[in-house]
């Protein structure tokens, strides 16, 4: 039997000891003497959060398919164990072997949100690995970063040996093979990093120098090593139906945040919402084959015994064979009572039919994400959801038996006016009116409408990467406008209002578009006791502000400052497929309230077709179809055709998706 790293007395005094004991169904055990590479995969947050992440499950499966590699997992110890480990000098260990992480060849850390940055340092520190890459020696693991935040890795550049930019399925074999070869040849850590720098998509921060203008903006960003590439090209897996996808995901004993099987149906998005980083980063859209998905769904349920499967994608309704897939799953899993969940689904007749089959209508709620209250604002952000769509969807849902609706909005969008903000409350009110239009005998009490607002954080690689973020006072002021407007509404009592925390937003804003000079502040904040910043009960906003001040960091420089068109951004060295020209063009169109049609309607020339596949190539086949539709709609086109596109909810409902 496996020997645990922690003694019984510790395991029995901490919360949820099963976070640290491993041994879960489908976790992989190997003989450590029989492998040549030991890889520890880390999600720098508590176990229940980390175990919910699909990316790690994919990479875990992929690495362990290699006979010469054993991939294990580690998560952030919760604060209770964190104290004990420091007090008793217990090194951080991996779940499977329970061996110290410091003995591994690699520590791979996934970066899913900015607020996990101090937890990276917690993991390194508890493992006994020097926090700064420059201070690591030959015996320390190679520390790799990956995931969405690695598209601007600069604020945490000092802590990583290299970053893997893009999707993990493509070149990890090269990364590991190079490691073995280097070891065989007696090469040093530096020799290895030089080899890595030669692999497509790998970014070794130490091989680059940054200089700054007097005003603080980047003056130059250039390699200082002969093998380092001036531009790092994002890695993309183009064959999503012929690649790694776990048949046997690890099943946690304790309830994870996502306690279900995840079936990723496609990557990327055709919508082009201008605030959405994921929608830009993961272009082009690539769908997995229906047959592949059916097979994996069955295998994963069989091998995990989970009672729920969720379809994952940025916009499920854009998966062309969605109805076939969903009706197949309902039929296939009926007997085993497997629940099917469909997030990111546009509310239409199909969605309502499916949901009435898989959910308890009385208990579940429907979610809309208009993101902005006014049509004008939705045109600015290119959110192709019209008021008509929303009200129709809500009316249909109410008629079908639902009476709970959730609505998500953002505050602080570019060019937002008091009028735009007020319309958030008005939209909520109109939805309540839809409910009261139902005949009295059909209604069940009051409708429950929940409006949630978050604050907009401009992100790299979006058209809004130039945009000044609102200051804290502006955010709070806008929140008060929504509250006040809701009180004036006739159905105000049917509407509940939740809002997001402004302190956290400011932090996200600083890190999202931050540069290398922030590493020092993150290190200092960690040393001063900041960890678990993503957890409001542990987030020490005051301390962070104090530390920024000590380090001469002005939060406004990173957040509320308007960037010039030609400013060199800290993340410009990454080629994510989409071009800076496209992003600027989209920004300008946004300011002019001009809508850009989705990728299936017309090519916006974003640059992602350089990956040679996905929707960019599918479009040509459909060109005729689109042309015909255009002709059909032609008599109604009186304005700028692009302006018409956004009202094309009809087109989408009819031709494309249903």
């Amino acid at each position: 039997m496996r020997k645990l790293a922690l003694p019984d007395d510790i395991l029995l005094q901490i919360e949820k000891p099963a976070r640290y004991t491993g041994g879960e169904v489908n976790s992989v055990m190997k003989d450590k003497e029989a492998v040549s590479i030991r890889f520890c995969m880390c999600f720098p947050d508590v176990y229940e959060v980390g175990m919910s992440h699909l990316g790690i499950q994919i990479l875990y499966d992929m690495f362990n398919k290699r006979e010469d590699t054993w991939c294990e997992r580690v998560y952030s110890p919760w604060v209770d164990l964190d104290h004990i480990m420091r007090e008793r000098n217990i090194p951080l260990f991996a779940l499977e072997s329970q061996d110290p992480v410091r003995e591994f060849d690699f520590l791979g850390i996934t970066l899913q949100y900015e607020m996990c940055y101090t937890n990276i340092l917690q993991v390194l520190d508890l493992a006994g690995i020097p926090l700064l890459a420059t201070e690591r020696g030959e015996d320390d693991p190679i520390v790799i970063g990956g995931g969405p935040c690695s598209y601007n890795p600069e604020p945490i550049a000092d802590f990583f040996d290299f970053f893997y930019i893009g999707e993990g399925e493509t070149v990890y074999d090269q990364v590991l093979d190079a490691y073995k070869e280097n070891k065989r040849n007696g090469g040093t850590r530096m020799d290895y990093l030089a080899k890595v720098a030669g692999i497509e998509g790998m970014y070794v921060p130490a091989f680059y120098d940054v200089t700054y203008h007097e005003d603080g903006t980047v003056a130059s960003f250039a390699p200082n090593h002969p093998l380092a590439k001036p531009v790092i090209r994002k890695q993309v897996e183009m064959g999503l139906s012929d690649t790694f996808y776990p048949e046997k995901p690890v099943v946690p004993f304790i309830r994870a945040v996502q306690d279900r099987v995840v079936l990723e149906i496609q990557r990327g998005c055709i919508r082009g919402c201008r605030f959405c980083q994921a929608g830009m980063l993961y272009r082009p859209i690539r769908a997995r084959d229906l047959a592949f998905l059916k097979e994996r769904a069955k295998l994963m349920i069989q091998n995990t015994g989970m009672d729920e499967i969720t379809l994952s994608s940025l916009s499920s309704s854009d998966y062309k064979e969605l109805p076939e897939l969903v009706y197949y799953l309902i039929e296939e899993f009926r007997e085993q009572k497997i629940n099917i969940s469909l997030p990111s689904l546009r509310i239409d007749a199909f969605a309502l039919d499916v949901m009435s089959k898989v959910q308890d209508i009385r208990k579940s709620s429907l979610t809309f994400a208009p993101e902005a209250g006014s049509q004008r604002m939705r045109n600015v952000i290119n959110k192709g959801l019209t008021e008509e769509n929303i009200l129709q969807g809500a009316s249909d849902a109410f008629a079908a038996g639902w009476n709970r609706v959730k609505l998500y909005f953002m505050l602080g969008l570019p060019g937002e006016t008091k009028q735009d903000i007020g319309e958030i409350a008005e939209l909520g009110n109109k939805i309540a009116e839809c409910y009261y239009k139902l005949p009295k005998q059909v209604r069940r009490g009051k409708p429950e409408i929940v409006i949630s607002t978050s604050f907009f954080v401009p992100k790299p690689f979006t058209p809004f990467q130039w945009v000044p973020m609102n200051a804290m006072e502006e955010f709070l002021q806008k929140q008060r406008i929504v509250s006040a407007r809701l009180k004036e509404m006739r159905n105000g009592r049917s509407i509940r209002y939740n809002w997001h925390d402004a302190d956290t937003t400011l932090m996200e804003g600083i890190f999202a578009r931050g540069d290398r000079r922030l590493s020092k502040s993150i290190l200092d904040a960690y040393r001063a006791g900041c960890i678990y910043d993503a957890w409001s009960e542990y987030f020490k906003f005051g301390l962070w502000m104090e530390i920024f001040k000590q380090n001469g960091v002005d939060p406004a420089f990173y957040t509320t400052r308007e960037r010039a068109q030609d400013e060199i951004f800290p993340w410009d060295f990454i080629d994510a497929g989409i071009t800076k020209e496209f992003l600027w063009r989209e920004y300008q169109k946004g300011l002019a309230e001009v809508v850009t049609p989705n990728c299936r309607r017309a090519c916006a020339g974003c640059g992602a077709n350089s990956f040679h596949g996905g929707v960019c190539y599918e479009e040509r086949e459909n060109a005729k179809e689109a042309e015909n539709e255009e002709k059909k709609n032609a008599p109604r086109q009186k304005q700028n055709p692009e302006k018409i596109e956004e009202t094309s909810g009809k087109v989408r409902e009819g031709g494309m998706d249903a």
């Binding site: 007395d9 029995l12 099963a18 004993f253 304790i254 091998n303 015994g305 009572k337």
Partner: protein
């Protein structure tokens, strides 16, 4: 068909709480491919019933679960299919067919049947306040014999609102320093401790304790009051409790089973313990 399954829980799975064990078996049943009956409603779950929750940190060779299957299987196949999907730390020992419930008949709940359990309490090779915990237990056998030789053992039991004093001695049905001293199970008493962890210091005691929904005594409470009586610092995490077997008391069982029998046992306090799988 209704089946009662007896299983062991040992090793690192002792750190799983009862609800997680329930969730584990719900998933394991689905992985096994056994056709299980589900509850009604929008969140159906497999119909599984557990005897008595095991405390966090305790191991066991005497855990029980009833399940309703919608098809008939040979008992051997049920055991084999379940063991094929168990992780380390769980082992299915046996399966027994239960009588079918007649329509309208009240199901005999395994939880209500449970009356008693055998435990082994062992001192771990751990240090407490800088000294091996076993060192605190010098003269253990004499002291423990004297402790349980008392006619009453009064302890304070804390409830949510108040603390009250209870005599726990009547809830201790048997004890001794070898497994055979308490064993009413089938096979060798050692079967009941085959997955128990062993410790070099060899300090252990066996207890037969009330383990029902009304009368219930945790082995930790017995050890705690012993420690208190002899001035030994009590540290529950430095003791290992292992459940050996779980019993039903035939004399307390549903009256229709005992029809025609005299229930003298109840009057004079004698009991007739039968391992749950024998019913």
């Amino acid at each position: 068909m209704n089946v009662r399954v007896k299983f062991s829980k040992y090793g690192f799975t002792k750190f799983l709480g009862h609800l997680d064990v329930v969730r584990y078996f719900q998933k394991a049943i689905r992985r096994s491919g056994l056709s299980v009956a589900y509850s009604e409603g929008f969140n159906p779950h497999p119909l599984l019933y557990f005897a008595a929750p095991l405390g966090l940190g305790e191991t066991s060779d005497g855990e029980y679960m009833d399940m309703e299957l919608t098809k008939d299987y040979p008992l051997g196949e049920i055991i084999q299919r379940l063991n094929a999907v168990m992780t380390e730390g769980f082992f299915v020992q046996r399966a027994a067919k239960l009588p079918d419930w007649h329509p309208n008949q009240k199901k005999e709940s395994i939880m209500a049947l449970t009356a008693c359990a055998d435990y082994m309490a062992a001192v771990k090779d751990l240090e407490v306040d800088g000294k091996p915990y076993a060192k605190y237990f010098s003269g253990f056998r004499e002291k423990f014999s004297a402790f349980l030789g008392q006619t009453e053992i009064i302890v304070e039991k804390e409830s949510k609102k108040s603390t009250k004093t209870v005599d726990i001695r009547p809830l201790i049905f048997g004890w001794g320093f070898s497994a055979a001293d308490v064993w009413n199970g089938e096979g060798a008493p050692e079967d009941g401790i085959c997955h128990a962890q062993t410790y070099g210091n060899g300090l252990q005691v066996f207890l037969k304790l009330a383990n029902g929904s009304t009368d219930n005594l945790k082995p930790g409470l017995v050890m705690e009051s012993f420690c208190k009586a002899y001035g030994v610092p009590y540290q529950e995490s430095a003791l290992q409790f292992h459940r050996m077997e779980t019993y039903c008391d035939l004399r307390l069982r549903m009256p229709d089973r005992n029809e025609g029998e005299e229930s003298v046992g109840l009057k004079d306090g004698t009991r007739e313990f039968v391992p749950l799988w024998r019913l």
